[in-house]
């Protein structure tokens, strides 16, 4: 099995290698990053949970837009991703 073409993203300014077809969540998990955000009320570390787009725990700021789910967002070359305090806003 071969993944797609390699792409590069930055996470909090650090370079992360990824592959076309991966989700942001997968790319970050593969690079050893499990903490994807900090919860707003209690400051708890949060990451993936349901990995199917229903729990909204994995929301991150992606290419400047806050509250996007990492597990359903596909990577593209040059994407920038930030952890930090994040919650989904409708």
């Amino acid at each position: 099995m071969r993944r797609g073409d390699p792409v590069r993203l930055t996470c909090d300014g650090e370079s992360v290698e990824a592959y076309e077809g991966e989700t942001v969540a997968s790319a970050l998990l593969a690079s050893g990053r499990r903490r994807l955000r900090t919860s707003p009320r209690r400051g708890d570390p949060r990451g993936l949970f349901c990995v199917m787009g229903v729990c909204f725990d994995c929301v991150m700021t992606i290419d400047g837009q806050a509250g996007l789910r990492a597990c359903v967002t596909q990577v593209h070359d040059g994407m920038s991703v930030e952890t930090g305090v994040s919650e989904h806003h409708d």
Partner: protein, 501 residues
Amino acid sequence: MTDAPNEGDLTEQELTDVELLVVGAGPGGLCAAIEAVRAGVDVVVLDDNPRPGGQIYRQMPASFTREGGARRGSAHDEGARQGFGHGASTRSGKKVRAGQALLDEARAAGVVVSSGSTAWAMFDPGVLEVVTGDRNHRVRAQRLVLATGAYDRPVPLPGWTLPGVFTVGGAQGLLKSQRLLVGQRVLVAGVGPLLLVVAGQLAEAGAEIVAVVEPVSRLDTLGLLPALLREWRITREGLGHRWSLARRRVPWLGRSMLVRVEGEENVERAVVADVDSDWQVVPDSTRTFEVDAVCLGYGLVPSVELATICGCPLRFAPETRSWVPARGADLQSGAPGAPGIFVVGDCAGILGAQAAAVEGRIAGLTIARDLKRLEPARADRLLQPYLERRAELERFGHALHRAFELRPGLTSLAEADTVVCRCEEVTLAEVDEAIDEGADTPGQLKAWTRAGMGSCQGRMCASFLMERLASRLGRSLEEVGYLRTGAPAKPIISLESVSRQ
């Protein structure tokens, strides 16, 4: 939540008329579409994932290709840590082939799936609002098939919000669709058939499973043997995984439950305790495992949000402790004032992929008959074997539910400071305080504490809130009712841009 967009903006948009609209491209939706398309019905299938197949037949992205050997020289391929380097096992291969066979059948029949489309509301009877990308479409259908599936039952316990805690469905999806392992040292805890399947798949892909932890005893599952033998084609996959776990000497801890997850930034330790036959924790019986991931699997909860939005009345299903759309023998819901709405698959009750496929075919054939594309006599002849098979699968499913029935101790794991609403970070203590002060329905708890008000629309907490209300008030689960949700069926991030158009 923002307000729904101005209805005036939407109702001025053009309507697309279709004969049959199917929501969900898992086995249920695909089979309904296949039968209807074959009979000449005009069908549109919507699915909100990037590729069809639902959860059970989750596909890899188009850009991943099946070739020999894994990509070398990156974090993705370090040994067994996050890679999946050695090809699918025969058992996983079988499932992949079954999924591929269904997708091939759908393609051959001429079924077209609109992927990345989310049906989110019904403002006018029979008209579904659908978002694809950042555009809203309105689709008016003569018949509707809802095949929206299910999601893992969330079980609050101390530490469950730590990064590294996954649902078994999530771990399986990550493996199937992204070829990644959730961790290197994994503890799998839960109950039911999916547990062993996923533990086996993770082990076969190279994870070290430190233990499989289940509250049932071996004796509990013995009574299942006749049912398991009758449906041996379905059960052999699970048995195969059980064997591959045994071969790897993975400890199976019966009469045990995961009671706490510990760690600073991520999961570091999993604490397991003995439980009694009611799944209540036996004091001073804990042992601790060093892990980097935990998978929780305590069954599935039907996704009924779209069905309720469409006006389908719900009934309480005691076998899964959840609320599901009420249906007639032809799988049609009793929604008043709405066109024929058929509800199939796990969203109507957790009976598994085979049952979903059979129900899909029943719905598709029935709709073809209703729309006069199939003669009634011919339709009935085609329906008969599916109806019989459905009855068999329902009996089988209920036998599984009885054997793996959730017991009271499951909802006693959360402690006062445990977050029970993940989105709004509401603790058990706050929920209990509200109940003691008079909140006696899930809706009141939501208004009181904000539990259920967050992004997930209560999917991650409603089941627990219902159980907590029932146990604290001494009422039945059915009496306390369910958390009512309105549109949107799923949060639509791009809705703001829709309303501005």
